[in-house]
Amino acid sequence: MTDSLETAQNPEGLRRVAIDPVTRVEGHGKVTLLIDEDNHVHQARLHIVEFRGFEKFIQGRPYWELPVVVQRLCGICPVSHHLAAAKATDQLVGVDQLTPAAEKIRRLMHLGQMLQSHALHFFHLSSPDLLFGYDDEISHRNIVGVLADHPDIARQGILLRKYGQEVIRVTAGKRVHGTSAIPGGVNKHITREERDYLLGEIDQIIDWGAAAVGLAKRLFVEDIEHSRDFALIDTNMLSLIRDDGALDLYHGGLRARKPDGSMVFDHVDYRDYEQYIHEQVKPWSYMKFPYITALGKEQGAYRVGPLARINNCEFIETPLAEAVRADFRAFSEGVLMQSTLAYHWARMIELLYCAEGIKVLLNDPDLLSSDLVVKGEMQSRGIGVIEAPRGTLFHHYEIDDNGIVTRANLIVSTTNNNTAMNESIRRVANDLFDGRELTEAMLNSIEVAIRAYDPCLSCATHALGKMPLEVQLVAPDGSVRDSLYRHMDGTICQVD
């Protein structure tokens, strides 16, 4: 149904509405809707308006720089890039297995990153929509509004975020620009004092994580029809999975399920990803559209991230998270949960898992060992895959005899969700817009659909004055009929 809205049959004569940029997601995204005189939607697209050039940025650099330099690709999830690149460079230096301490320190860092990222997204970016409604006053629908009306929820979000960043600081050496993960291991051990410092707060963090799952479920169930149907699409689901079927955010094989829950492939060595996933290029977007090769371009689109991971795994190894995972799966009556708004619920299940997993690792005696690095024989190709907060993240490098990167291929989480995000906004456009006058709440509904994926559309450029919102209405002859400009302070003015 929604596919028909990717490209209008007769775009000339239609009016164009642009939401530019999409707010409360990372980077520069733009949504365009082509609408006829009666406000019927003929085309809906999410555009990426900046060419990112990751590969160009990386090629020509020595391999040992990779875990550090790739953090600058993204100011939102630098730790995920740090660890994915470290996993790839492990292979470049011929290391298949890290020391127990090195792997556990990396896993701890990763859980800290997931915890703080999920906390930020749920409490600060999405909760204003979910708590206040999509049509709430813009000046109130933000984190400060949540602090005013729901101070306990907002405080917990801030403190969860802060705790996750402390885990990163302890494991990576610094809160930002960490250098701990290196080819073959890590270069910083954890002291007993650092371990005890993090242990001091972890029970409170777990309690707040459990409460966050309860809140996310309550918000989903309160208006169940809306939650189920809003931006609903049926897709395949892709994620890493541990050998025994457990949720694993750091390492595993690739698993893809069809919408009916059956497997497309399972426990695939991610170093063979190019045999299973292809990327399609479309002329209207800088971002590629990956798909599962065996299912083809039309049927092979998939989703990644919390919804895919919780749908795909058979169990979670920590008890509280496993209980709420079972509840989530029971709610969808055994089939895959496809509701886009269920991303929030799944994300909080993962947050709870991260909190519990951090406690398990902090109590593991291996964590304090100083046996941190393994060496091997150099290889020319390394592929690292990790489950980043937004989904599966692929780093693929090839180097020459001097250790210089000659080829780099990155498939970032948001790219994996590209088709799904586009389909979700088409569903919203189809359900909410067709034949009606546009309102700010309707435009926000489009953004709510996109935000559920927590996309990172670009990376960490944010200079003052770079983020206005412009809405253009384009007349049938192509001329701009009307243009509204929303400034940084929220004021709206007419553009002559």
Binding site: G75, M467, L469
Partner: protein
């Protein structure tokens, strides 16, 4: 780590051209501190962008100075006093400095420390780009200004 009365937060992505202005200004300040110990009155903090946790980083300081790159500035830099304000802006995962102050006041339920924003003129922000000449010149002027401001702030009245 609160060792000094002033916190300078320089934010931006060092690999995105002029977005590096905030972190680079911190580097410049640290170099000046080594040469002139009288300037030893500030702590520094760098990040890619501002977020809610920076409200907690501000706690306990007498003054906080945010440093960021800015487009569309008609001068090399601008220094202005900040007031807490709800974030009505259309940004991304990041907050603007005034919103960080508002988060501070909502979180601690006390007025935020006196805070200022030092905006430095930049023009190129693409991944992998070097600092532009415009930004380089603006950085020098902004650094000189801020060093003088800090010296003045610690001088006995």
């Amino acid at each position: 780590m609160r060792n000094h009365p002033v916190l300078v937060i320089g934010y931006g992505n060092p690999s995105r051209g002029d977005d590096a202005l905030g972190p680079l200004l911190l580097e410049g300040l640290e170099a000046l501190r080594i040469r002139d110990r009288d300037l030893d009155c500030f702590d520094t903090l760098t990040d890619y962008q501002l977020q809610v946790e920076h409200a907690m980083d501000m706690h306990g300081y007498r003054q906080v100075i945010f440093v960021d790159a800015a487009v569309n500035l008609d001068r090399p830099f601008r220094f202005e006093l900040l007031h807490a304000a709800r974030d009505d802006s259309y940004t991304t995962h990041a907050l603007n400095p005034a919103a960080v102050l508002a988060v501070y006041e909502g979180f601690y339920e006390i007025p935020a420390p006196e805070s200022c924003l030092l905006s430095i003129r930049g023009e190129r922000f693409d991944l992998g780009e070097d600092l532009s000449e415009t930004a380089r010149q603006s950085l020098d002027e902004a650094l000189g200004f801020l060093a003088a401001h800090l010296m003045q702030s610690i001088s006995p009245a």
